[in-house]
Amino acid sequence: MLDVLPPDSIGLVEPKFHTFDSPIALDCGRILPRYKLIYETYGNLNKESSNAILVCHALSSDHHAAGYHTLQDKKPGWWETCIGPGKPIDTNRFFVVSPNNLGGCKGSTGPTSINPDTNKPYGPDFPIVTVHDWVKTQARLGDILGISQWAAVIGGSLGGMQALQWAIDYPKQLRHCVVIAAAPRLTAQNIAFNEVARQAILNDPEFYAGHYYQHNAIPRQGLMLARMLGHITYLSDTAMRKKFGRDLREGKINFGFDVEFQVESYLRYQGMSFVDRFDANTYLLMTKALDYFDPAYKFDDNLAKALAQVYAKFLVISFTSDWRFSPARSREIVKALLANKKLVSYAEIKAHDGHDAFLMPIQKYLQTFKMYMQQIEL
């Protein structure tokens, strides 16, 4: 429990909702007649509405990007490192909007929501959503909030992909695009990892073809395995060695299959705690959104062509030890922007933390990010 909130935190925050009554046609061909988005905002929108920042979240995060919901919270929002007074996304200067994506399980309409047609949770019947769909719903949220142009759209990992999609889909509606630890599309290896995660969930006997809510069941084992696998790909070899080495929990090996090494204990803990806070159907949807993301697809597989019309200025950041979306993947984005003579800066940050680095307080990363944000004119 916190006695006092840290001075560089935005402090106590409250989620907001908006229900959209106009139907949305999704990439998969289906139409959602109405849907709700949950979001948080930090800071104040200025008179000209020129200081709004959209923060897009990654695979398993949500709208709670910064601050605390109660003084009893154990942890702040997922990007507390970067959002707050005096931080790179400075809430003294910017008005930050952070929604939970459609298909999520933290308050926006998703598989756990009640389908008005059946009065039961959507479950596996929730349509598969894409990054393009998300961007569309975020644009509608912007309209509701009176934001005709974002000062910047920002995201890490899958969030960075949304930022990139924004620059392509609504070129004039953002002045800056910050893409961190992302990729222009997934590789076969990336998709392979997602597929193993999905198979773990789909084959869990408690999954009931996605209708586990009606059976009062949770595909615990499957979701846990999916998360454990994910976690391995978020960390680097170096980070794992540094954190766990070959440390044994009881100081000796027991010649058994219970938890012996610290890294096993860590992964099981991460997996188990994830089950309590995340929905398996949403996890399946999010991994599919990742797999399908490919803005160059409609442009003859030519990313430079896809980015020909972008208007925003870009900051692209990658991390040396990120092997999930390596620096080479960020460079693909940079190269496509350079081919179009677009305004872009690119920083490759030395970090041992693997993909997770974008959430970490790495000094050079925060300095680079902050310096860029300070250059944004309001």
């Binding site: 940079v334 350079l338 003579k341 920083a347």
Partner: protein
């Protein structure tokens, strides 16, 4: 902003409104100057984190790049000028990078310290040791200058690579010239600046 005199010299050679790539752009001073005074656009390439931060602060488009990896992110002929100040001597293969520079740019401007300077010659001739001077302040084992050359060496390479020298300026470390530097540049010049173009186009 006060500009290093070698940068001021370079900026005089650059036509207004052109598109420029600056290899090893440091804190972005040259690009900022060119942007403000000559409405030049372009990018800086840099490998040092702090320099990258300084460039971003100056509003310069900077791309983290290891110049030893070449310029494969850039298409042929995509710049009017490719500039490299005081960096060629620290490149693994200066010859290959020179070709890369003239592939992505129509013209190049290069500056480097002259190893044919009398001070370097005297040091080797009389003391038999690698020179330490204001131009070469670091010991041979820790210096980043791994491919030092004289003006003659450089000009020989230009002939081999079919590179045409459009202009040359030779100065001392305070970037001043003198009659004896003009008379015997390879002996008295400390820093050389070349304006190059490929003969092959």
């Amino acid at each position: 902003m006060e500009l290093r005199t070698d940068l001021a010299l370079i900026s005089e050679w650059i036509v207004k409104g052109t598109h420029v790539l600056d290899l090893g752009c440091g804190n972005g001073a040259l690009l900022a100057y060119l942007r403000d005074k000559r409405t030049v656009t372009g990018y800086g390439l840099e490998i040092d984190d702090d320099n990258i931060i300084s460039c971003i602060k100056a509003g310069i488009n900077v791309i983290h790049t290891d110049l030893n990896q070449g310029l494969s992110d850039f298409a042929d002929d995509s710049f009017d000028y490719v500039i490299m100040t005081q960096a060629i001597q620290s490149i693994h293969r200066p010859d290959l990078l020179l070709l890369e520079m003239l592939r992505v740019g129509r013209q190049s401007i290069i500056t480097f310290p002259n190893f044919g300077h009398w001070n370097a010659r005297l040091s080797l001739f009389f003391k038999g040791v690698m020179p330490i001077s204001r131009t070469f302040p670091t010991e041979w084992y820790s210096t980043e200058n791994i491919h030092l050359c004289s003006l003659h060496d450089f000009e020989k390479l230009c002939v081999t690579l079919d590179i045409e020298i459009l202009q040359r300026a030779v100065v001392d470390t305070t970037h001043h010239s003198s009659w004896f530097m003009r008379l015997m540049p390879n002996l008295f010049g400390e820093i050389a600046t070349y304006h190059l173009r490929s003969k092959l186009i």
